[in-house]
């Protein structure tokens, strides 16, 4: 098994999942498989190639961090993985479904069932209570209100906010808000928890608190994908993918990543 920096795909199985015949569904072990996805933007006449062919394969129950400097395409990749956007070329398989060719409403359904978002800015509805915020994905899933309430309360209890269900976001601390957002992300039992700079707006002790929540979720079998530019946050993940200029620069297990961090070889990923 080669693990040189010239070879981003450092895992044989992953390589196989990606290089399977295009158009064929990957094994059900793989929650995410992208095959050569590309995305370009037209920025006032200038074409920006945000992703230039990215192959990623992520197994169920993995805890993955996606890193990269700004402009590396990590936000674009996150939007694609989160089904908020579709690639211009390439395939994206999520839970065995070919998401890259889906229409708007199908994508909305996939976001609702398969993805739990956690945002840097929390993105809670400011005028709604914690309970109502957590219920929201269930509303769009068509869950009846009794069950909605029950499941939302359970999700809030899971993040130790069972006593804050009637509070509005402005009555909660930053860490509590992010935990409400995590409860909202988990309430519909998504295939992946997709966190975009989840600690970006939090102080370091609160960040640790949130990372402990992720750690716990990962140990209980939740697939977690986290986009961050902070190496010490990324170091919590079991696997770190580093993007650069719209391509994967490296894809390492945590130990290997930490090793590289220590020799300072990853200055490019840490800005």
């Amino acid at each position: 098994m080669q693990t040189t920096e010239d070879m981003p795909m450092s895992f044989t199985a992953e390589r196989e999942a990606v290089t399977q015949r295009a158009g064929s569904a990957p094994d059900k072990d793989w929650v995410i498989v992208t095959r050569g996805i590309k995305r370009e933007y037209d920025m006032g006449g200038e074409i920006v190639r945000a992703l230039r062919g990215v192959d990623v394969a992520i197994r169920r129950n993995e805890y993955v961090a996606i890193m990269g400097p700004s402009g590396s395409g990590k936000s674009t990749l996150m939007n694609l993985i989160g089904c908020l956007d579709t690639p211009d070329a390439g395939e994206y398989w999520l839970s065995g479904n070919l998401v890259s060719s889906m229409a708007d409403d199908e994508l909305a359904r996939v976001r609702n069932r398969e993805i739990g978002f956690v945002f840097q800015t929390f993105n809670l509805l400011p005028r709604a209570t914690a309970l109502h915020n957590v219920e929201l994905p269930l509303v769009y899933a068509g869950v009846p209100s009794d069950e909605r309430r029950k499941r939302a309360i359970a999700a809030l209890e899971r993040v130790q906010l069972g006593d804050r269900i009637t509070h509005r976001p402005n009555e909660l601390s930053g860490g509590q808000r992010q935990r409400v957002a995590i409860a909202r992300a988990l309430v519909n039992n998504p295939a992946i928890l997709l966190a975009d700079e989840p600690t970006g707006n939090l102080d370091s002790s609160t960040s640790e608190e949130i990372m402990r929540v992720f750690e716990e979720l990962a140990t209980t079998g939740q697939t977690v994908i986290m986009v961050t530019h902070e190496p010490d946050i990324a170091a919590h993940a079991r696997r770190v993918i580093v993007l650069r200029d719209g391509m994967i620069e490296s894809d390492d297990r945590r130990e290997r990543f930490a090793e590289k961090m220590q020799v300072g070889g990853l200055a490019s990923a840490h800005k």
Partner: protein, 411 residues
């Protein structure tokens, strides 16, 4: 998203932004308020016309033979031609009545505004009637004081009068008018009765009259010789109105020697024809009463559309969040549509209440009667919700088409 959740959400939006919602609703409130008020007043006038006016002025189950009908819409030319028609004469009465079934009541009437005076009041022009036949029975008029004119007095032309309450009060203040002298067009008449109050129509008192026998001297004052203003016929209970009208027509055409090709040169009026005339006016009033509030509603719709566009812009991030969490286009669309519809239905509800109050107020301070029509309430609600839905379509579809990534990035 289930409908009930959408409504709950919309109501909470209204609750959170009370002042803004109020201004948004103003157009719809005013539109619906005037719709209800105008329709209530037209309906009030209508039920008044049907129950009181026609009964009082025309009489139910009666036919009036006149030179020209009162309740018709004619061109100026037709009107001039009608002025050249021959008058109805007292000599027409006997042939017409004898052609009708036995038990038919009739009354010949002539009237004019003439000066009246007494020792206690200066002369002023009031309605004087010279009547013959069963006038009081047809009018269902009773006296509150004194007595009616007897058939003997009718036959002899005795100079006696039955006066309306207002005349009694004006000419004989604080006195018993019975047996006192009232000068009608300078002629001395003795008051023998005061008629029960006839009420009023649109604020005009119906108690300003004096009624005398046709054969008394008054007939020379109110009309040229032989001429009467109307012959009123009231059929017995089971009489056929259509047949009676045809009989009268034939008798009159015969008396006037009209050829088959010539049109009638007299008018026959019934309470139905008066009502028909009223219904023509009413439909015009209703149209006016609907068009004017409609202008208010159009303004209201534009305001709602603007406010909803602002709301979509302000809540772009919320829309982004909802989309990220799985809201489909139609979920966002229905959220904003239901919000607009709920908003304007609340406005319509307020407008209905205010419209009813306005109608009550108008009928309290003016002679116009008011009665709230149930259909106008239903119409108000439907119009309110409709205005909201129509004005919400464009903003809602804009919201539903927002790109979730852009929407999430907005402040």
């Amino acid at each position: 998203m289930p409908f009930i959740d959408a409504i709950r959400l919309a109501l909470s939006q209204i609750r959170v932004q009370k002042l803004k919602s109020f201004f948004t609703l103003l157009g719809v409130v005013i539109g619906v308020m005037f719709l209800i008020a105008v329709v209530s007043i037209v309906e009030g006038m209508s039920s008044y016309m049907e129950h009181d006016f026609v009964g009082k002025l025309v009489g139910v189950n009666t036919i009036s033979l006149k030179r020209n009908g009162d309740f018709q819409d004619v061109s100026e030319e037709e009107w001039r031609a009608m002025q050249r028609r021959p008058r109805v004469l007292i000599t027409d009465v006997e042939p017409v009545v004898s052609a009708l079934p036995p038990g038919t009541l009739w009354s010949a009437e002539g009237y004019d505004n003439v000066p009246m005076s007494s020792r206690w009041a200066k002369p002023s022009n009031l309605e004087a009637w010279a009547v013959d036949g069963d006038y009081f029975q047809i009018r269902e008029m009773k006296v509150s004081k004194g007595r009616l004119i007897t058939s003997q007095e009718m036959a002899l032309g005795t100079p006696v009068v039955v006066v309306g309450e207002e005349i009694a009060e004006r000419y004989f203040p604080d006195l018993d008018p019975i047996g006192r002298e009232l000068k009608v067009a300078g002629l001395p008449y003795t008051v023998i009765g005061v008629a029960e109050s006839q009420g009023s129509i649109f604020g005009l008192s119906l108690d300003r009259f004096a009624i005398a026998p046709y054969r008394s001297p008054l007939r020379h004052v109110v009309n040229r010789p032989q001429v009467i203003d109307a012959l009123k016929i009231k059929l017995p209970g089971d009489g056929d109105m259509i047949e009676a009208q045809e009989t009268i027509r034939q008798v009159m055409r015969g008396r006037r020697g009209l050829r088959a090709s010539q049109p009638d040169n007299f008018a026959l009026e019934t309470s139905e024809s008066a009502l028909k005339f009223w219904n023509d006016i009413k439909s015009k009033l209703v149209i006016a009463g609907v068009i004017l509030p409609a202008i208010g509603l159009v303004v209201g719709a534009i305001v709602i559309m603007n406010i909803m566009l602002v709301a979509v812009a302000e809540r772009t991030r919320e829309i982004g969040i909802r989309k990220a969490l799985g809201a489909r286009r139609r979920d966002i669309m229905s959220q904003f549509l239901v919000e607009a519809a709920t908003l304007s239905t609340v406005g319509a509800a307020i407008g209905i209440v205010m419209g009813i109050l306005l109608a009550q107020f108008i009928s309290a301070v003016s002679p116009l009667p008011a009665s709230v029509a149930p259909w106008s309430i239903v119409a108000g609600v439907i119009v309110g919700a409709g205005v909201g839905i129509i004005s919400g379509i464009y903003p809602a579809s804009r919201a539903s088409r927002l790109d979730p990534i852009m929407a999430l990035r907005s402040e």
